[in-house]
Structure formats: C-alpha cells, structure tokens
C-alpha cells in the first residue's frame, strides 16, 4: 500500500510518500502508525503524538481504529488550516 505524508509530517520524514507492506498483524490505522514508528527513528519522533495526527484511507478521512484491509492509499497529516 502507498502512504502519503503532508505538511510538517512530510518535512520531518523527508518524504511525501512511500510504499510499505506491513504484516497481517497490522490491522488498524493505529497499528499502522505503531508499525511505521517502530521501523524508523524519524517516524518514531514525527508521529510521537498519534492523537494529533489525522488519517485518510483512499481519500476519505477515517478514525484511528478503522481497519486498513483493502486500502490502496493511506494518508497522514496534521490538523488542517484551509480557507
């Protein structure tokens, strides 16, 4: 699956996207954040407060307990400042 990062999350990770292949035990968005943090010190720091990070699956905003099975694109980003 493809992961997208936006704003300061993208900057701190020094990448806007990456392809990952998490194991089957990674079931929810929360699980995915924990797995991404465990495999990368930059992600460990950038995502240290998961509660302030928002997520979208296939361009729909989701809560962190949403299953990721079947997802093609998962995006992570800080609170939005549009308008």
């Amino acid at each position: 699956m493809k992961i997208l990062y936006f704003a300061w999350l993208r900057e701190r990770l020094d990448r806007g996207e990456e392809i990952v292949d998490p194991p089957a035990s990674v079931r929810s968005v929360s699980d995915l954040i924990a797995w991404l943090r465990a495999r990368d010190p930059a992600a460990e720091l950038a995502m240290a407060k998961p509660e302030i990070i928002k997520a979208a699956i296939d361009a729909r905003i989701v809560s962190h307990d949403t299953p990721i099975a079947g997802a093609r694109v998962i995006a992570f980003f800080p609170p939005m400042t549009g308008g």
Binding site: A56, I61, A75, P78, M80, G83
Partner: protein, 148 residues
C-alpha cells in the same frame, strides 16, 4: 454547483459575475474572498499552501452538498488555491446564491467554517524570522461547532 482546487490565480470579480448569471427565484449572492494576510507588525513575504487534492474534492464536495440542502441554496461555488502566494492575493472564494439574504449569508459562513477545519490544506508562512507552519486555531473548531 462547482468545486475547484487549483494552483492558478483566479479573478474574484470575474468569478462573481460568472456565478450570478440570471437564475429564476434568486435574490441574494454572498461572496467570501480570502486574501493572503500580512500582519503589519509581523509581515509575511509569501504563503505556501500544501494540498491533498483528491481528499479536498471529496471533503469540499460533501460540505457543499450539505450546505445546499441545509440552507436551500440555489447554487454555490468553492474555489481554493494551493502553491506559493503573495500577500494580498486571493486564496479562496466561496459564493452562494439563494432566494433571500439570510440563507446566502448562512451558507457562505457555514462553508468557510468547514473549509477552515475540514479541507486538507496546510499553510506555511515565510517571514523575516524564517518559515513556520500556521497552527490550527481552536477558534476555528468552535466556529464549526456552532452549526451542529
């Protein structure tokens, strides 16, 4: 109904005129134009607007559909730019058409309150002290909550 996410500049007045073509039963048009703001005491030299376009179209499309039903709007358009903008440049424009002014005003305010918190754009300001991400404002969450 129209939602446009674009890097190119737009002309606020030309957009207003194109939007308010004769529509039977319409009596009120409200236009909100958001400009890149530079505080005289802490000037901004440029604003970088990052965007997730696919999510923006989904989010704004849903907000616009809700506004149309909730306020009985006859038409509405949202234009939102991304990329690098200069102070004074238009960032966003929301237009609502309704039979009467109350609905046109409420619809435009509702759309703007939701865009501030629910549209996937992130602002970064360039100032004399360097670049900084604009913080999400709690006041914007409160503004949105009044529509619940």
């Amino acid at each position: 109904m129209g939602v446009r996410i674009q890097e190119a500049a737009f002309d606020p007045g030309a957009e207003l005129n194109a939007f308010s073509e004769l529509s039977e039963g319409a009596g009120a048009v409200v236009t909100f134009t958001g400009l890149v703001r530079s505080d005289p005491g802490d000037p901004v030299s440029a604003l970088m607007l990052e965007c997730y376009p696919e999510l923006a179209l989904n989010q704004i499309g849903a907000i616009v559909a809700e506004a149309r039903v909730r306020f009985g709007l006859l038409d509405e358009t949202v234009i939102h730019r991304y990329g690098t903008l200069q102070p004074g440049e238009p960032i966003v424009q929301v237009m609502t058409l309704a039979p009467h002014r109350e609905a046109a005003f409420a619809g435009a305010e509702f759309l703007m309150d939701y865009l501030k918190t629910d549209a996937p754009f992130w602002k970064k300001e360039a100032t004399a002290q360097g670049k900084r991400w604009v913080e999400h404002r709690d006041a914007d969450d409160k503004a949105k909550d009044r529509w619940r």
